[in-house]
């Protein structure tokens, strides 16, 4: 079972020079990114509320497999899913 937040929960993320997440803090712990498994981009809904998000499915050195996204328009990172 994985945990899923439909609106995501806000996250502090450090990015590298290529705007790829390098580390983030969650529940008082600091997680550094081991590798990005997949990334994708959503850009839709321009006629009402534009959703423009960069998704990253990644593994941390602490062993977490998570899905986080960057809401580009408001420059905010959110955690959407933590896989078991």
């Amino acid at each position: 079972m994985s945990r899923f937040w439909s609106d995501g929960i806000p996250l502090e993320v450090t990015v590298d020079a290529l705007a790829t997440p390098a580390a983030f803090a969650w529940r008082g712990r600091y997680h550094t990114v081991d590798r990005v498994i997949e990334r994708w981009r959503v850009d839709e809904g321009w006629w009402k509320r534009r959703a423009w998000r960069e998704y990253f499915q990644l593994v941390t050195h602490s062993g977490l497999l998570v899905l986080i996204y960057h809401d580009v328009r408001i420059d905010q990172w959110r955690l959407q899913r933590v896989y078991d």
């Binding site: 997949e38 981009r41 006629w47």
Partner: protein, 1000 residues
Amino acid sequence: MTDRGSDYIELHCHSCYSLCDGASTPAELIARAAGLGMDALALTDHDAVYGAPLFVAAARARGMHPILGAELTLTDDSHLTLLVENATGWRNLCRLISMARHHTPRGRPALPPAALDDHTGGLICLTGCRQGPVAAPLRRLDMPGAVRAATWLRERFGPERTFVELQHHLHPGDAVLVRRLAELARHLGLHTVATNNVHYARRDQQPLHDLLTAIRHRTSLDDAGKRLRANSEYYLKSGGRLMPLFGAYPEALAATRAIAGRCIFTLQYGLQDLPCFPTPPGYDADGYLARLCAEALPCRYPGNPERACRQLAHELHIIARAHLSNYVLIVWDLVRYARTQGIRCQGRGSAANSLVAYLLGISPIDPLRYDLVFERFLSAERPALPDIDLDIASDRREEVIQYVFRTYGPAHAAMACTFSTFQERSALRDVARALDVTTEHLLLEGDHTPDRVRTLAATLCRQLNNLPRHLGQHNGGMVLTRAPLADRVPVEPAAMPGRAVVQWDKTMLEDVGLVKIDLLGLRMLAVLSEAGRLVGDQRGEPFDLDRLTFDDPAIYQLLAAADTIGVFQVESRAQAQMLPRLRPQQFADIVVAISLIRPGPIQGDMVHPYLRRRLGQEAVAYLHPRLKPALEETLGVILFQEQVIKVARDLAGFTPGEGERLRRALGAGKGPEAIAPFRDAFLAGAARNGVAGPVAAAVFRQLEAFGGYSFPKSHAAAFAVIVYQSAWLKRYYPAAFLTALLNHQPMGFWPPAVLVRDARRHQVRVAPLDIHASGMRCVLEMDGSVRLGLNYVSGLSEAGAGRIIAARPFAGLADLCRRTRLPKGLVERLILAGACDGWGTERRRLLWELGTFHYAADELDLPIPGSTVDLPALTADEARELQMALLGVSTGDHVLARWRDALTARGYLDSLALARCPDGQRARVIGVVVVHQAPPTAKGFHFITLEDESGMINVIVRPYLVPLYRERRGGHLLKVEGIVQHEAGVVNLVATRLAPLARE
């Protein structure tokens, strides 16, 4: 950007010609590709090459290499990207698209995969997008399926021409799919190639593309769901942008350049593509053409053929050198066919400049007599194909088209297509549906509160403007080729059964050099045919309008008096204002008359200077002495289309080819940016010729104002023949003329009601509709009166009319109803229109009787024995009103006739009395509004034409009065007070007061 990045060429690219699945024009895509540093680009629209000519032209203009191709839809809904390597490949692509288009219902092309078996030569196959035959099974993890599909393609196209297509649009799963495809390619020994499946040039066009997608699926954006793409990555990307996505597959990026280098096909046709006209044994086309002309010459030029002989030899020489004899023979053959079938037709366009065309009967104009210059048709230096277009009696044009299909075969003949495009205003409805709002909301006038939706809609409408929407059939443009047409250009079924169109429109065909012959329907020619036949019947001997010489003073009197209602081209209000000033006295004056009242000369302000100069009120002057040769024949103003080319040549040293392009650009109305390069070249050229800058600029402004909205002189001359012939009929056989006019409506400037009343003023008797006397169409009766036909009863089909004619006479209403089985509503209309007056029963009583009938589903019961009632008879006014409302014409007296005495007593003048008033006198009139015009060139003035029982009254409404008069519909009575103005034979009433009267 890395080296590898700059090597990237986009090979999978949709333009707006993927109808509603592409947001950018070919030119936009080329411009963007050039901006990204690509020196080549492919165009791969869905199952079409609609955009190819524009794409090629745009690429050439930028020195880029255009690669042609298409994305084909297969019957299993998978997509395949095909690129054209060479001429064989183009032929195969055209055939494949044609097969796909013919294989399934119109609008849903699909190619059976088996068709690929023999048509892969010269084509490079990329395995397609996510929906491709290889990618689709891979996405389902069906490895064997993917291998099978890839192997199948490799067998058809060969390993060197089969590339596994990799696409990465930053969707979840794309990276995995790319990896699997690359692995599969390696496994099968195939190359990979990266593409971006472009659907718009720039990222910010994603909304436009989504909108088009929603429109295509007839849904709102909200409901479009998965049919919209989840992000905006389908724009034209540089190799640098794609590098991070295909970092592991540099060879896939590099392959794009290698493929681009292999696609060397260029699009170009020419005259040699026309079918061969079968000449008699011993003659080639040149020889046969010469023989036909030589045979016709003595008949056309009896007595003094020397000049004609010399001209003929000259023309034949030029035509032969341009390899055009075959072309001329093909057109001659069409004309000959039409004539033998009794179908009136005549050439239009520059052909009328040619003696050859005259001798062959293609053109009705003797070019020697009317100073038409052959070089305007064809000259050694003229690069463009000469056009020989035929005007054909509209009611029988189809027969000529069928003859072409029969003669050359459906494989060699098809119609040009047209693209109907989105228009900014009409697109609003589509945009409203996509945004899920009402059009009323978007249109809310007067509400100036900022509204996000409204702003968005306005932007989208503007972006949609001019994008192609769907395909239609051009009205008469036919393409003929010697090789099967499908080898040259894809052919697809048109909406009309049994009819096919090619995938290019008129201009595109011209651009690539495919010959098109326009077979245009002209209603006036049908009128001339019918009226000529009636005249022959009346005279008791065959009558040939074409034997008329153009020298009857009575005809010129008619024209000068502007007594021209119904006459071709010179009947409009504007013509009627001009003709009395022009006072045509000879054929050449008619040519001028129809050329003057055109948007070009009007906007260019040429009309009044020309008339003043002609009347000697103003000296002929030229902005520069160099303009004299070009403009001398038209008193210093630009009147004819070809004068643009001559002015550009004489003043700025343009070649005829450049001049032609300038004329086209001016006529295309593409705005200042499109004109700017021409202006610069024009000013520079003029400066080289020592023309002062301001003078050159002034001349160019004149050319711009003139635009392209004008006739070539030859065209005007060909039309002038029809003007003369129709005027002749009106003058000598007005009843026959009216009969024919009424049978070919709608046409011309005036509605049938005006035509009828005008004819009545010319002593033509017009008899009302009568179920016992009227024919299917209007006819000329033995006593010379015109009888309205059953074609004027709206809603009455030809079959219904036929039943009336077959079953008459009728004993009474019940008999009519029983034996014709016409619906009650139609019988009611017949009664009200007066068609049943013959029984002598009053119309209201007949209606009452009709009401007592029981209409069972299929059968009519016997009438109930009538209870009698007293009903008032219709008044004459009521009867006329009903006739007007039901038939659109009225055969009774004018509404004002009955009131004239009372009106005269109150000081109202009729149109005849008004014409006798001195200039400057105050006058009052009443008339029925027949025309209300507010031409954009009239600076806010409105023009109203009133009709009373004795003629027409021209009313001029000054701008300050316009807001006081809101009624714009025709047909109502208007009271006008004003000042009489005489100007060179034209009488106008300049209104000072206007007051509409209630009807009746």
